[in-house]
Every structure is written in C-alpha cells, then in structure tokens.
Amino acid sequence: MVQDTASQVDMQPLVVADTDCGAVFAIDGLKFESNSVIDLDLPQGWFSKKLLSSPGPLISDFVTHEEHFAYGSYGIHVSQDDRLTFMHPDSLSGSQILGSFIDCRFGSPTLKTRVEVLFRPSMYRRLNIPRGVAHTFDGLERIVTRDEPVWHSSPDNSDWNVDNDLISVDRSLPLAQFPVVQPNLYRMNDELHCFQSRLSQELLKTPKSYLARYPITIAGERRFVTFKAKEWGDAEEAEVFSLLDVELPSGIKFFRSRYALTGPRSWTVVPNTDACVADVMLLPSGIPSCKVVHYRTRMWYTALSSEGSELTIRTLDCRRDSPQFNVPTTVVTFCDPRVSIMIEHGVAYSFSCREPVLLRAEQEVFAGTNEPRSDLPLFGADTTFVEGDVAPMGIEVPTLQCPSTVVRLLASNEILAVRSQASQIDGQNGAQNA
C-alpha cells in the first residue's frame, strides 16, 4: 500500500533491467532513452568506448559524487529538463541507484504521482526528467552523472530563479504537501543554450558552492530562501594549486576546470570551450601500446572519475617548430575533475592509469591559411597513431582557430551518422527476425 509520505519505503521500486534503454514510467515524460555509444577498435590500451552527446542543444555538464554522498532533499527545476546519464568507470560495478520522483507540475495529468526506480549505472542510456518533476537519488557514491540540460524560459514566473534553477523540498515531507510549480513554457534555442553555458563558464572561473533554495513562509509571506554551506571548499585552493603546480613539456597545459561545489568534495563541472560540447571516453586500465596525435584539433581532457588515482601522460611533440620537437616526455599527475588537461594539436600523447577512467573530451579545431592541405587529415578524421618515440614527420600545424559552430557541426554530423547506422542495423535485425 502506498502511503502519502514522500519518504516512505513501503512502495516497491520498479526495477529496470541493465539492458533496458527505453523504460517509460507512470509520470508523464519520465523515461529512459538510448544514448549513442561507439565501441572503439583502437590499439591496445587506448579508449575503448566513446559516449556522444544526445541530439539537442549539445550542452553537457558533469557531476561527481564523493564517498558517502547523499541528498537531503528533492530538487525541482522550473527551466531545466534533465537528461541524466549515470556512469561508473568499472562496467562490472554492482552499484544500484534508487531514483525517487514526484510530479509537481501544475496542470499535469500525472500531478502528485510518485515513482521509484531501481537501476544500475550505464553509459548506454539517459534518464529524461521533465522540468517540474521533483527528483532525488540514493546510491550515487562514486557515480559520475552527465547532465544534458534543455532549458526553457517564461515571463514573470516567480517559481523560476534564472541563476539557481532549483526548488528544494525536504525528503520527509508528506506527498500532499509537495509544492505545485509552474514549469517554464518556451524552449530556448541552441544559440541561447550556448550563451547561458558560456556565461556559466565565466561565472565559475572562481568555483562556488551551489545553493539550496527552499520555499519558506516568513512573517506570513511565501518567500524563496537560498542557503549556503559555509565550509565547502575550504581546502580547495591548496589542493588545486598542488595539482596545477607541475612542470610540463611544451604543448601541454593544466587549467583549473570550471565547476560548482555540490558537496564538500562533489563537483559539477561545466564546459571549458565556447562550443560547450563534449564526448565521454572510457580509458581502460593499462599502458597503451602507442600514442595518438591530432594535427587539427586541440584537445581538452578532464578526468571525471577515479579521483586520486595516478594518471600518466606520455607525449611526443611532432610540431616541427617546437623547441621540444621529437622529445619524448612523461608527466605524472592525478585524476581530478577540478583540473583540465589541454593538449595542443601536433603533440602526440597517451594516457595510462591502473584503473579505468572516464574522461571528458572537448575539442577546438584549427584550419590553415593555405587550405586544402593534403599533408593534414580531414576534419572529423583527425586521429593518427604514433608508434615508438620518433615523430613521424615534422608538421607545421594550422593556426587559425575555427569558430565554435564548426566544432558543434562536426559533433552533430557524428551523432547523425552514428544514429543512422544504428537505425540501419535495427532495421536489418528487424527484417531478419520477421
């Protein structure tokens, strides 16, 4: 029997099978959908999987969850539809996540419907949570969550705070007392998504703690009050400084990531680039047998998982004009989402770690002043493997940075190609089964 207290555990959660990428639930719009994941056939020790962005604005941020992480509240977004992918670098991880959802949307056919879902992390599926649906999770310790938000706006919506799109609701509140909110009406276009994401990047040059926002009655008037944890991030500066304070070879730089603190040691990492689009790469444990070089693409990598594990970066500068041309180097650092690793185009590199690592990969693309260049790979096919410690040849790398629209176009094309291929395979399988 379902009782009307949100924190009750009498309701049996719906168990979603590991391979179910299309489960639909009793709350209107709450569902799983398939992600686009490429199984990579690369030399030993190199990335084994690549998770692409989902169709839409192509914006993503990543939330890491510390050990013993727990939510004290439900959260309701007014602007933001969530599209969440829950990942663990160890695909054999037995961790289970319990999601709890309550429909709080004014006018919804499923208003005040409550759903609980039990599922395992998988990069192959995302959970769509419509704006206005309260949600919270248990079992997120060490899980990395990718969110691909879709933002909406409305005029004069007092439930909406553009800077802090959250209404917090205590987990023990009876169901009947959950607020009813007015979700924003109008979907923002992709250009506006990029604008908001880039402005967020700018704000998070200096990391800040994320605030809880509760509706509270003060002197008889309903107000929204935001609360801040005072001590989150006290050790930040010293820790991040020690990660950044490393002697690096030419062509590699470490930068502080742009992030908000969503716990004392949990971070929401926003994009580094103007394009705001990223892939997720799974790096298996072990040492790669070769390096890779991109001649047109500057790469930004952020280790999202395996925090504290040693990460070895081996490089070989293939740029003919570099003072370290053809000099192999090794850098040892630690996996930490608060630091992003930038590798210039023309520098061959490899990563290795004793355990699997989820890495965010972002790109900036360059063209030459004398295109087309037959000595360089095509855009979108810019990966060359380098055996040993000798540069294949000295390359004069292109210097004109392409606008972010080019990066987004390349990403969109790749997504379309993969989805088209997947549809064809599904169609062939369907025909065979018929």
Binding site: D163, Y186, L199, S200, T217, F227
Partner: protein
C-alpha cells in the same frame, strides 16, 4: 594557471543580437523571457553565481537536512529572516531571500 582567454564577450550586446535573430515566435518568446530574467544581473554580474540547475548534498556537516521539515512544511512560518537565521547550525547561512 589561467585558461587561455579569448576577448571578454559583451554579454548584453550578444543577448540583444540573439533576441533580434530569433527565427520563430517560440524562439522570440523564449529569448525575450530569458533576457528579461537575466538582464538585471548583466548590469551587476557579481550577483550571479552559477546559472545552473542542480541538487546539492546535505548542507550540514552531520548529514542531517538542517533545512528540513521544520522549514519546508506549509505550516511553518518564521517571524523574520533573523528568526530563521537563529535556527540554522553554525555551518549553514542564509545567502539570499527572494
């Protein structure tokens, strides 16, 4: 170490340009509403924090939701903001009241 910096964008101008370039009535409505919401902040950007929609961990150090049912319940009413502040533990503070 500083990230590679591009020229600082003129956010207000860019937002204005986005409003002009909206292609459909819904885009125009969305852009206008967003511009109205964020416009005042662009005059005082120090008032913005994250522009994110997230849920955060328990606020207090002892993993109890210090802003809990006492405050969330519809029947609760603090006499004033100061009254509310007195009820918070030492490691949680009120940031803003809307």
């Amino acid at each position: 170490m500083a990230r590679m910096e591009h020229k600082m964008p003129d956010w207000k101008k860019e937002l204005n340009d986005l409003q002009k370039s909206a292609k459909t009535p819904e885009e125009a409505a969305a852009t206008q509403a967003f511009a109205a919401a964020i416009g005042p902040y662009l005059d005082k950007p120090e008032l913005l924090r994250t522009l994110l929609g997230k849920i955060q961990r328990y606020l207090g150090a002892d993993e109890v939701n210090v802003v809990g049912p006492n405050f969330s319940a519809p029947g609760f009413s603090a006499k004033s903001v100061d009254d509310l502040k007195k009820q918070l533990p030492h490691d949680v503070e009120v940031h803003r009241v809307e």
